[in-house]
Assembly symmetry: C2
Homo-oligomer: 331 residues x 2
């Protein structure tokens, strides 16, 4: 048995959650519902303009790994924080959830700080993310422990990391080590605009290396440059063994070879949409690595996504195993 069911690689972030209305988004020049990269100056000025906030650990793949850990999965995370207070918060919250986290800290002397994402939550529960990457941008191949990757049944790659200067080399090192030891590769496309910045690199990676692709409808359309959702799904399925494409309240489409399933969403009141896709992926991967069939994994993903959007913050609060039991998915 491999030591880890899933090892995630992503941008380590603390989320700064503030509520504001759509007029604020317009006045601050923030495009609703997506992730925008910002520099430290913009982070400071934007933070000064928002109301009282809450700080909670985030980071897309880290949320996924936290979800798997909460389910009792054997999991580890690779992503860079600095030796500062926000870095300590991030590391604590992952380890306290039961995940292994041992990426080397950027030293106190580093000018950049631990990354943070100023998440503006509008009254409709939608989140608009403004990301100062900080030291997490500089995760390099040196941070990839090949023994750890070889000891993973799956690695899970965060699409947002395509923005880092050495991220492609780091991903390649992780993929080689994992696949060389018989492991499999999953990836999330993360964001349509991130795809715009790196479409060719995404395409090559998907075709050549990915066994399981996570994305949402907007990302799928952006990836294949089309308005035809079904055509895009079919193309993805021709390139990747398994595709799980979420579509908000319309549930998830799962494609594997010639098989295709649609699993309806679990209705809930949306308080804060942050983390929905991350927790879908976490529960789905937990299901796969515990031997469940794909539609059941989809149900697990939808339940976990529903839990995380019902409260502020992108990590699960209710016990996910209990929810799976209530839905009759596990004994």
């Amino acid at each position: 048995m491999k030591k880890f069911q899933v090892v995630g690689i992503g941008n380590a972030m603390v989320d700064v959650l503030a509520r504001a209305d759509d007029a604020f988004l317009a006045s601050a020049g923030i495009e609703k519902g997506i992730m925008q990269l910002i520099d430290m100056d913009r982070a400071v000025s934007l933070y000064a303009s928002v109301g009282p906030a809450k700080e909670v650990s985030g980071g897309s793949a880290a949320n996924t790994i936290a979800g798997i850990a909460q389910l009792g999965g054997r999991t580890a995370y690779v992503g860079k924080v600095k030796d500062d207070q926000l870095g300590a918060i991030f590391a604590h919250d992952l380890r306290a959830q039961g995940a292994t986290y041992e990426t080397a800290l950027a030293p106190k002397t580093e000018e950049a700080e631990t990354g943070r994402c100023i998440v503006i939550v509008t009254p409709d529960g939608e989140r608009s993310m403004n990301t100062y990457l900080g030291v997490t941008e500089f995760l390099s191949p040196d941070d990839i422990d090949t023994a750890q990757m070889a000891d993973a049944e799956w690695i899970y790659l965060e699409g947002y990391r395509f923005d880092g200067p050495e991220s492609h080399a780091a991903f390649a090192k992780a993929i080689d080590a994992c696949k060389g030891a018989g492991g499999q590769v999953s990836i999330t496309l993360s964001d349509p605009f991130c795809i715009d910045r790196h479409r060719d690199a995404f395409r090559v990676m998907i075709k050549d290396h990915v066994d399981l692709l996570f994305c949402n409808r907007a990302e799928m359309l952006s990836m294949y440059q089309t308005d035809d959702f079904d055509a895009a799904l079919s193309q993805a399925a021709s390139e990747v063994a398994t595709v799980a494409c979420t579509d908000s309240e319309n549930g998830v489409h799962i494609l594997s070879g010639s098989d295709r399933w649609h699993v309806p969403a679990v209705p809930t009141k949306i308080v804060d949409a942050t983390g929905a896709g991350d927790l879908f992926a976490g529960a789905f991967l937990w299901g796969i690595t515990n031997g469940y069939d794909l539609p059941t994994c989809g149900k697990m993903g939808n339940i976990a996504a529903s839990e995380v959007i019902s409260h502020i913050g992108a990590r699960p609060e209710a016990d996910l195993q209990t929810l799976f039991k209530e839905h009759g998915l596990i004994p």
Copy 2:
């Protein structure tokens, strides 16, 4: 008109909120429902032992001032943070709520960090607080701006500050400046064990300087070293112009001269009791400084306390003026 309706002086803190059960409290040697002072080593080891947490600005008097500011009151806060990430969070959240906050920062070179309070919230909603004071312990008379105190209708003193080495001198300087310009002095007793540590100093301050005393039942009994609640209330009323003594779900007792009122609590589901007394005091002071009679101020206090215990975190989330309108207290 004075510039400020209320200026608060207290321990500046970021709360680290984690959920745990009573068995954890027992194993960690934490006494339930009170505040314990801890050093940095204990803060580190305790933090390592709790689950994933959320960080939100706290500090007893700071919560009170945030409540007054959210109501639209003219208010300022004095309490020390360091020039670090948690200090920036604390300062942001107060200013973003509309309060003036200009205490000089402890420099980056200071060894102690911004204070934090590891709050363990048990399933019953009770909070057990473990406070690393950090730089806030060292607030000194130099940090008191006499012009600001003279420009306050009321100052609000946090009992927890009696633990700081120069706190008594700082309080004396603030009281002199405020009273010398015709202002009034309010205080909260904060905690029965804090009273045990400084009972004589509390007694002198109450008798000689305090116009409005906030406390809860346990603090009142500790203050006057008795089990006879009514006798303690009467003694307090003989020493202070106005007494507001909360008694959890039994509401609040307000005494002024020979007048006495009991105002029932506003029922709610307790999610996190942190900040109940702080927000009671905030709404009560807002009421007083806006000309409302004492029982109405008590109702406002109970409504604000009820709001803050209905969610995680010790600062108000719902609009308090809207709640006062719904209860018919303001037009």
